[in-house]
């Protein structure tokens, strides 16, 4: 609608500088497109938890519009409300008018960030993480290495043993306890930059390795490469790729997100590939919207390339199901009854990358396993990027309800498709202890462990 609609923003000069920035940055057409029908309310986790209108997408859009229209000041309550949104975007698929809520909330946060006065330590940490760590491979590897050192050297034991961790707030202490063993050896260090397809190659795909994924879940990246190869894809892993920029975009650091996107687009364009594969819903959702992220770039070539890139982004499960030779998966035969498996959707994978059927189809295909749908599996678990660190109270409530539903599935495995969700599920199991053994895993790791290699299949046939 944006390009065709010439009537645009109200002609107002705000005295409040943040209000002016909000008016400038918010897409006023999108604000107008919200017809306030309220269909988004039941889909919104924060509305469901609190039951109050301002905690809903309709409420937040009304607040943004009220600020843009000069009906209210963007006070602290307003700013807190914008940050209270999980950004899970469950409101988008249910919106009759197709309002791009995810874009609006990012524009609002971007404007707020422009005027933010963070305390000195927070500013330092933001700068360190957003500018110094996520965008830089070297720093990330260093971080991964330090984490690994911390975890393996006995420092962790020392920290936990001496009660040093008690100095941290509860939620950070809980997070620390479930962090997986990190590594400085990412996927490229383990398998190289090229991995051939098993059998005739169906397509040439590039793995988006992610930054947190490649430090904390490098094994999942390796498994993804092997699974793709098994399904008939030739895999390349461009060395120069950088962080997707999602954490920056969600936190209002749009310029940073754009410069990272530019690097990635060029790197993958040069790799001559058919698809860009993501195994993390959070990263994939931003990658698939690079076209929107770059749509105001002054260089038409950048905009074209961004479109080229966005069109090729696909979730690993969806690629295997829709374009690949689906491998055979089987549970270990020692189990007597079928092993129960359940799944927590990654919000961004489901609501933005529109992949919810493919992972379920793969789980259902595992021989000796029984897939059980968890109640409200499509509802956010509270992880939401760094939300569980910045908004521990709401995140904790959401997780508690999530684990109540998890407990009724009796599932041996709780699978998910995003590192943040995976950590949150691990935390949930650790904290709420379901009355039976439950293990949280990335769907790729689960499937990889149960892969029946092609040669075995031939062997069985003969």
């Amino acid at each position: 609608m944006g390009e065709t609609n010439m009537m645009n923003k109200p002609d107002i000069k705000h005295t409040n500088p943040l209000a002016q920035t909000l008016l400038n940055k918010l897409d006023y057409d999108q604000l107008t497109n919200c017809m306030r029908c309220g269909f988004c309310l039941p889909a919104c986790p924060t509305f469901r938890e609190t039951g109050v209108e301002p905690e809903s997408p309709r409420g937040r859009i009304a607040l943004m519009k009220a600020v843009a229209d000069g009906l209210m000041d963007p006070d602290q309550v307003f700013q807190d409300q914008m940050n209270h949104c999980l950004g899970c975007r469950a409101c988008e698929p249910v919106c009759p008018a197709d309002v791009k809520y995810g874009q609006l909330i990012e524009q609002a946060r971007d404007a707020i960030e422009d005027h933010a006065t963070h305390s000195v330590p927070v500013t330092g940490l933001r700068k360190l993480m957003f500018k110094g760590v996520f965008p830089k491979r070297g720093s990330l590897k260093l971080l991964g290495g330090s984490l690994a050192f911390y975890q393996k050297s006995g420092l962790r034991k020392l920290a936990r043993g001496t009660g040093m961790m008690r100095l941290f707030p509860d939620h950070l202490r809980e997070m620390e306890s479930i962090l997986p063993d990190s590594t400085s050896r990412g996927v490229i260090e383990q398998v190289g930059t090229f991995y051939p397809a098993k059998g005739t190659p169906l397509a040439r795909v590039a793995l988006f390795r992610g930054c947190i994924m490649d430090v904390m879940f490098a094994g999942t990246n390796v498994n993804t490469v092997e699974l793709l190869s098994e399904a008939g894809f030739e895999v390349v892993i461009p060395k120069e790729q950088v962080c997707c920029g999602a954490l920056h975009a969600h936190s209002g650091e749009m310029d940073q997100a754009r410069s990272l996107a530019k690097i990635n687009i060029d790197v993958f364009k040069d790799a001559g590939i058919d698809y860009v594969v993501s195994n993390a819903g959070g990263c994939g959702a931003l990658l698939v919207e690079y076209d929107h992220l770059m749509h105001e770039d002054s260089d038409p070539e950048v905009r074209e390339n961004a479109k080229w890139f966005a069109k090729r982004v696909i979730d690993v499960s969806k690629l295997v199901v829709e374009k690949g030779r689906i491998p055979r998966f089987a549970e270990k035969m020692s189990e007597q009854a079928d092993v129960t498996v359940t799944y927590q959707d990654s919000c961004h994978l489901r609501n933005v990358m529109k992949s919810s059927g493919a992972p379920r189809q793969l789980m259902r295909s595992v021989e000796g396993a029984c897939y059980v749908e968890m109640k409200e599996s499509d509802r956010c678990c509270g992880s939401a990027g760094i939300y569980n660190v910045t908004q521990p109270e709401m995140a904790g409530q959401l997780l508690e309800h999530k684990m109540e539903h998890a407990a009724t599935t009796n599932a041996r495995y709780m699978l998910t498709s995003n590192p943040g969700c995976l950590l949150q599920m691990k935390l949930g199991i650790e904290k709420h202890k379901p009355p039976f053994q439950m293990e949280a895993m990335h769907i790729v790791d689960y499937l990889h462990e149960r892969l029946v290699p092609a040669e075995d299949r031939n062997h069985n046939k003969s």
Binding site: E53, P54, A66, M72, V77
Partner: protein, 471 residues
């Protein structure tokens, strides 16, 4: 902003955090699902019990402060916009199912309960509550009762009023009344239950409802019929009823709607069709089969150009997609969507649709019509842009003429959305000056100081009827 003396009393009743008058709360309760209406209240209160509401009303009536009670604020008539300020009373904390009585087949619920959640619970117990407004995933039972919501099953099963058999409500002065009960027969005095259903929060604040439940139908079948001749579709509707078959669903879409829906959902619908009927029958399996066979014959007799009967649940879902997408497809055309609910006798459906199309052409506005053909309840839907004042004015003029046409055909200005602010200027056209007088008398008896949802139903000034030019 209310005087500190009043807010202190209100906070003492509900607790500090359940009365709010900060900017965020006021802005977020200044609108509902109606386009282009917004007005800030003075405060927002979240009560948790009938007793609290009674105390709140005593305070508000003492100080003559208006109150707008609401559920999710999804109505389309401006019914919960606090146009005269005052306190917005949000019922979401009162959202419990108090009892499901399996012996009497009734459910007793609080008003803030989401309709779909109640239906899910009732269905788990093997029972059926038929009213199904399109907003039921978010609208509350209290809101449905206040507006007397309809839905797709109105023809066969009736609307909200047919299922509310008892109410508890708080009057403007704070006294509590109970009407009806778990009773299928009750003629003790005036029927206050029915009077409160559809009263749009202007007579009392509903605090509890007893609903009638029925056993669910055992089977269901879905079919779709398309017509090049809109009168063929209309005659089909009449003939089905004449054959003494009352379908569970009998939905209609006109040509402009078909075009928009097809463009949106890529269903491959033939674009030269003037009408689509979506028909469903439920009941015992044998009856369903027999009825569907007969309906099929009627469709063929009336020269339906395309006919599809679903053989499975998946096929039925595919057929339902077209009708289900209608609102979404229209809402995406332009920023502002105005959905009305003019309703005519079933036999006048085709005349009404053609009149709507003529009117849209006359005012050069886009209006597509879909709706519930079985009960004559149509949804002419205009797509526009709130920022284009001139076009919005033309849309409003077109709707005035549509209401006029509806009344001329023996119909009404609103079938299921309510009067609220939007249709108040037209109410007199439907009920006449003496009708308005009686209604005002009833309002004064319940609410002498006009504190309950003021500015709704009754217009400051009725609109003059336009003289229609035919031909």
């Amino acid at each position: 902003m209310l005087k500190a003396e009043i807010t202190a009393k209100l906070r003492a009743i509900v607790g500090e955090k359940h009365y709010r008058d900060d900017q965020e709360a006021l802005v977020a309760h200044s609108y509902d699902g109606t386009p282009m209406l917004q007005s800030l209240p003075d405060g927002v209160i979240y009560p948790s019990s009938t007793e609290e509401i009674s105390q709140i009303m005593k305070v508000l009536s003492e100080y003559r402060v208006p109150v707008v009670s609401r559920g999710s604020g999804s109505n389309l008539c401006g019914g919960t916009v606090p146009s005269e300020g005052g306190v917005v009373m949000v019922m979401h904390r009162m959202n419990r199912i108090l009892e499901v009585d399996m012996e009497n087949l009734t459910a007793t619920v609080q008003p803030g309960l989401i309709t779909a959640e109640m239906i899910a619970h009732i269905e788990e117990l093997g029972l059926f509550y038929p009213p199904d407004p399109s907003s039921m995933k978010i609208s509350t039972i209290g809101g449905n009762i206040a507006e007397c919501s309809g839905g797709l099953r109105g023809l066969k099963y009736g609307t909200t009023k047919d299922y509310v058999i008892g109410l508890e409500a708080v009057l403007a002065n704070g006294s509590i009344i109970r009407t009806g009960g778990k009773l299928m027969k009750d003629v003790a005095g005036y029927d206050l239950t029915k009077l409160l259903v559809g009263s749009e929060g202007t007579l009392a604040i509903i605090t509890e409802a007893t609903l009638k439940l029925i056993p669910p139908p055992k089977a269901k079948k879905t079919m779709l019929a398309m017509y090049k001749d809109i009168y063929g579709a209309a005659r089909t509707v009449s003939k089905i009823i004449e054959s003494k078959i009352i379908p569970a669903t009998l939905e209609f879409m006109d040509n402009p709607t078909i075009r928009v829906v097809d463009d949106f959902a890529k269903l491959g619908l033939p674009l030269d069709m003037e009408a689509v009927l979506l028909i469903e029958q439920d009941g015992d399996p044998e009856t369903v089969e027999r009825d569907i066979a007969r309906i099929r014959e009627i469709c063929e007799l009336e020269k339906a150009d395309r006919l599809e009967v679903a053989e499975s649940r998946e096929e039925a879902d595919r057929l339902l997609t077209a009708r289900r997408s209608a609102f979404t497809a229209l809402a995406r055309l332009r920023p502002t969507t105005m959905l009305e609910d003019a309703t005519v006798p079933r036999s006048k459906i085709a005349d009404m649709v053609l009149r709507i199309n003529e009117i849209a052409k006359k005012y050069n506005v886009t209006i597509a019509t879909f709706g519930h053909a079985g009960d004559g309840n149509l949804h002419p839907t205009a797509t526009t842009d709130a920022r284009d004042k001139e076009e919005v004015h033309r849309v409003e003029e077109a709707f005035a003429e549509i209401f006029e046409a509806s009344i001329e055909l023996g119909g009404t200005i609103t079938g299921e959305h309510g009067v609220g602010i939007v249709k108040a200027p037209y109410l007199e056209w439907k009920v006449g000056a003496p009708g308005i007088e009686v209604m005002r008398g009833i309002k004064a008896a319940f609410d002498p100081h006009n504190l309950l949802n003021p500015g709704k139903v009754f217009a400051k000034e009725s609109r003059k009827r336009v003289v229609l030019q035919h031909g």
